[in-house]
């Protein structure tokens, strides 16, 4: 692996955060972030499915014919979701109960199909695994941030933030904040590049 591609892929979860930048997988992010335990559980389960699906799809990328690739990806992701649901039901039944219908919904999470189509189907297994890890952690961080904030605000007496309406509004505010920070970072990087090229001259 060369250094730049490695760095780009590893930082993908932050600079191309699936929730805050790509705006994917918003439904489970709002629905299951009313407390930090549910948020962490769903985030971790989604991340595991994402890593496994990226690895599987990347290793099968030369076998799957191009015309039927989307149905093939959907079946792989649905099978992995079934496995994780059976695993949770057996070992963490509390989480299975509180997440309910949102575990099957991992199968239609846009992040997973999006990464399969945009990344795993074009890159080597190692990179695909790294991308899955980075994007999975990015999603986990985002849903935990929202979950923690909503639970804290709820405990502080602002129970409106625990309702779906509060989830929408808080996520909108966080999205705006993230956009603002990303803009600052990009501007700083541009300035540094400019001053660097002046020095070289």
């Amino acid at each position: 692996m060369d250094k730049k591609a490695f760095k780009d892929t590893a930082l993908g979860g932050l600079l191309n955060n699936p929730v805050f930048v790509l705006v994917l997988g918003i439904c489970p992010t709002i629905a299951k972030s009313t407390n930090i335990v549910d948020a962490f559980g769903l985030g971790a389960a989604t991340a595991v499915v994402l890593i496994c699906s990226n690895v599987l799809i990347s290793s099968l990328r030369k076998v799957i014919p191009d015309q039927v690739r989307l149905p093939a990806y959907i079946i792989i992701i649905a099978a992995l979701t079934t496995l994780i649901r059976l695993f949770l039901r057996r070992f963490v039944p509390v989480l299975d109960e509180s997440l309910g219908a949102f575990i099957p919904l991992i199968a239609v999470n846009c992040i997973i199909l999006g990464r399969a189509e945009a990344f795993a189907s074009k890159n080597k297994v190692g990179y695909a695994a790294l991308d899955g890890l980075s994007m999975g952690l990015g999603f986990l961080a985002a849903i935990c941030l929202l979950g923690g904030l909503r639970q804290l605000l709820g405990l502080a007496g602002l129970s409106v933030f625990v309702t779906p309406a509060g989830g929408f509004i808080l996520l909108g505010l966080l999205l705006g904040l993230f956009n603002f920070l990303l803009r600052l970072y990009r501007n700083a990087q541009k300035k540094r590049a400019q001053s660097h090229s002046k020095e070289v001259r």
Binding site: A78, T82, A101, L105, V108, I169, L171
Partner: protein
């Protein structure tokens, strides 16, 4: 009469009090993606209602079969395949037999395959206990439930399209343009919808 009252309850609950978008926060991608124009909002809403009703009825019957064969754990795979196949089939049938309907809904059909709203409805049909009822009554409830969820989704898209026309005129700070302000607007509508919980 009891059946009629139960169906009315299901419909009111799915459209208003537990609206799929505003109180279950599912189906947000199309809410943000296709709500810029009223025409496309209505088209997408109708397409989802149609596929939702059809998919739920088919999935209901198939799930009954899965129970007979003791294969309930294959439900995710079955449901997703049914929805994908149904969307494909509908695409072909509409193109052949009803070009007018196809020109209205056709663009939205491929987007529906992995629509969380439909997938959640199909899963809820199991967890709400409609499958546990007898085939006839369960099927009736499932069909009305799925139809009402679709209507609730249509209502949400239309409301959102009405709001989103305005945010292009308003002066919004740059980082908040686009998705963030749309989410905040959706949150405010959802706040209004939580008033229905009093019913």
């Amino acid at each position: 009469m009891a059946i009629f009252a139960a169906i009315l309850g299901i419909v009111v609950a799915s459209v208003l009090t537990s609206n799929i978008v505003f109180s279950q926060s599912v189906g947000i991608c199309p809410l943000l993606g296709v709500s810029k124009k009223m025409d496309s909002a209505v088209g997408m809403g109708l397409a989802v209602t149609f596929v939702n009703t059809l998919a739920s009825v088919v999935c209901f019957l198939l799930y009954k079969l899965l129970i007979v064969w003791d294969l309930e754990y294959l439900d995710i795979l079955t449901f997703i395949l049914v929805i994908a196949a149904l969307v494909q089939a509908l695409d072909i049938v509409l193109k052949k037999f009803s070009p007018t309907l196809y020109s209205a809904l056709g663009v939205y059909l491929p987007l529906i395959t992995t629509n969380c709203a439909i997938f959640l409805t199909v899963n809820m049909m199991v967890s709400e206990g409609y499958v546990a009822m007898g085939t006839g009554l369960g099927l009736l409830y499932t069909a009305f439930y799925a139809f009402a969820v679709g209507i609730g989704f249509l209502l949400a898209l239309v409301l959102m399209a009405g709001v989103r026309g305005r945010d292009e005129i308003a002066l919004i700070p740059k980082p908040f343009r686009g998705f963030p302000i749309a989410l905040i607007a959706a949150g405010l509508i959802a706040l209004a919808f939580s008033g229905f919980l009093g019913i």
